[in-house]
């Protein structure tokens, strides 16, 4: 039974080749599913990219560790679809680098949070969750309202996202700073540029209610209000399920 092994052990080159062959099986098992990636990731022609303000909010979401308690992944289970809405599709994370699916829910899943509650609720909830939900155990994030949003690095952030495949145009990258201001100030001249570059459906609002400056609160609320709304593919997918 061990004859082959006994022989291999005595031949350095043969043993090396055998080790490479055995180890590469593990690699193939991980790489092979990518061959069928076109079948895994659905088509979503209506999908738009994150605006600079939403991308900045996403960075704050990562910085504050929101993903440690909130998942962004609705599984294909009846109770999750009943509670949160259509199950998550792979394509919905197409522009997420890195993805923020999370692996643990201390708070609820927020993959479909966009548009569910008002901006005012989000602001009050982030400043002090107990103010609106008395039983909440979420920490307070009051400093988001005090901190001005850092915008000078956003063109670079967009360029980095483009390097990994997000289709930002040169114009989007060049105007990132102006678009951040415009999206959080609907009455400003810069607001028109945001809708022309990112689409009419983009939410341009005074997210934190303060027209004087763009705060981290503006960015995070803008991001929370777009969750699950970059594409309509998921609700179409579930609608197709229901009619079948």
């Amino acid at each position: 039974m061990f004859k082959l092994h006994y022989k291999l052990e005595r031949r350095a080159i043969g043993l090396t080749l055998a080790i490479i062959a055995a180890a590469s099986i593990g690699g193939i098992v991980e790489i092979a599913p990518l061959f069928t990636i076109d079948q895994t990731v659905e088509a979503a022609p209506d999908m738009r990219v994150y605006t600079p303000l939403e991308l900045a909010g996403r960075n704050i979401y990562m910085r504050e560790g929101c993903y440690a308690c909130h998942s962004q992944m609705i599984r294909t289970l009846r109770d999750e679809v009943d509670r949160y809405g259509p199950y998550s599709l792979a394509v919905e994370s197409k522009y997420d680098h890195p993805m923020l699916w999370g692996s643990k829910r201390t708070g609820p899943d927020i993959a479909r949070l966009g548009g569910k509650y008002s901006d005012e609720w989000h602001v009050r909830h982030l400043i002090n969750p107990r103010d609106v939900v008395p039983v909440s155990i979420m920490p307070a994030y009051g400093w988001l309202m005090d901190n001005a949003l850092r915008t000078d690095d956003l063109s670079g952030q967009l360029a980095a996202q483009r390097a990994v495949g997000v289709p930002y145009t040169d114009e989007m990258i060049a105007n990132a700073g102006a678009d951040v201001y415009g999206q959080a100030n609907p009455d400003s001249a810069a607001a028109a540029g945001v809708t022309s570059r990112y689409g009419e459906a983009t939410t341009v609002r005074l997210f934190d209610g303060d027209p004087q400056r763009v705060t981290e609160m503006d960015a995070l609320v803008a991001y929370l209000q777009i969750l699950g709304k970059l594409t309509d593919a998921a609700s179409q997918d579930t609608a197709a399920v229901e009619t079948q």
Binding site: F2, Y6, D82, G85, G115, S118, D131, V241
Partner: protein, 291 residues
């Protein structure tokens, strides 16, 4: 090429390697390891046949069972809809009076409505629908956009100042910030409005005659001459003792000075018409239980 030499103590073969008289044993692999190796290998082979498994260039083997998690959830959802059809169909077709009169249906509406309310509405309006500063209580008192279940259903469907094209919309002007009223005038009218619910229209007018005049000239157009509000334009009743933003003098002053524009999201796309009707029937039932 196995070495035939056996160790006299253990009875196992040796590897034939020897270091200063110490020989290495060639202990056989325990049988249990072979057992699990073979079992898992067989399981893997069977799994390949029955379940989606192997990538084949541009596609993959679907397996005999054709298992797909989306089919599973589709089946579960269809089964759930079937189980609940006996009362959901009634809710979908009947009017609110008929629904309220049917105890069996109402039992289901209360159960489903409570879950829907808890997941979607409670973070703003409170788990018992008693409200919070800036978010109206729904269980008692007048509602800004009408108390009937039909009005509640419409408010849930389109929202208030929401993104829905048919959204209910209302904005209270910023009387102070936009220079419509002077500071002293706002103080007078705020004191009058604050006392409306406490001492009644006559008492408040007697205590604050100037405030009553300013109210008639500026506020009555929306809130009504008697300050009882107008559900057609979403103007709240100011003569009751229920306050949306708080009944302190400073809060009332702020409301008049900077105006108010509440926001309720539209739920049409998220919940669908049937769930919205269940919520309206649930809230109507809740309000009847707590007059």
């Amino acid at each position: 090429m196995a070495i035939e030499e056996r160790d006299p103590l253990t009875g196992h073969r040796t590897t034939g390697h020897e270091w200063n008289g110490i020989k290495e044993l060639n202990t056989p692999v325990p049988r249990i390891v072979y057992f699990f190796l073979i079992t898992t290998t067989l399981f893997g082979l069977v799994y390949w046949v029955f379940m989606p498994a192997l990538p084949l260039g541009t596609t993959y083997t679907k397996g005999i069972l054709g298992y797909d998690e989306r089919n599973v959830v589709r089946r579960d959802l269809a089964r759930a809809a079937q189980d609940q059809a006996h009362w959901r169909d009634v809710v979908a077709q009947a009017d609110f009076a008929t629904i309220a009169a049917d105890e069996t249906v109402m039992g289901n509406v209360r159960e489903a409505g409570h879950a829907l309310f808890g997941q979607n509405c409670a973070v703003c309006h409170g788990v018992d629908a008693s409200g919070n500063a800036g978010f109206p209580g729904l269980s008692t008192g007048a509602l800004n956009w009408g108390d009937t279940p039909e009005a509640i259903e419409e408010t849930i469907r389109v929202g208030i100042n929401s993104a829905h094209p048919e959204s209910r919309s209302a904005q209270m002007p910023a009387f102070g910030r936009d220079g419509i009223l002077q500071r002293a005038e706002i103080e007078a009218v705020a004191a009058y409005v604050r006392d409306l619910g406490r001492s009644g229209a006559d008492g408040a007018a007697a205590d604050h005659p100037e405030g009553a005049e300013i109210f008639a000239a500026n506020c009555a157009a929306c809130h009504g001459d008697d300050a009882r509000g107008n559900a057609d334009v979403g103007a709240p009743d100011l003569a009751d003792d229920k306050w949306l933003y708080g009944g302190g003098l400073q809060t009332v002053y702020s409301s008049v000075w900077a105006g108010r524009q509440g926001h309720m999201p539209t739920w049409e796309g998220r919940l669908g018409s049937l769930n919205i009707k269940i919520l309206a029937a649930y809230l109507d039932d809740l309000r009847k239980a707590r007059p």
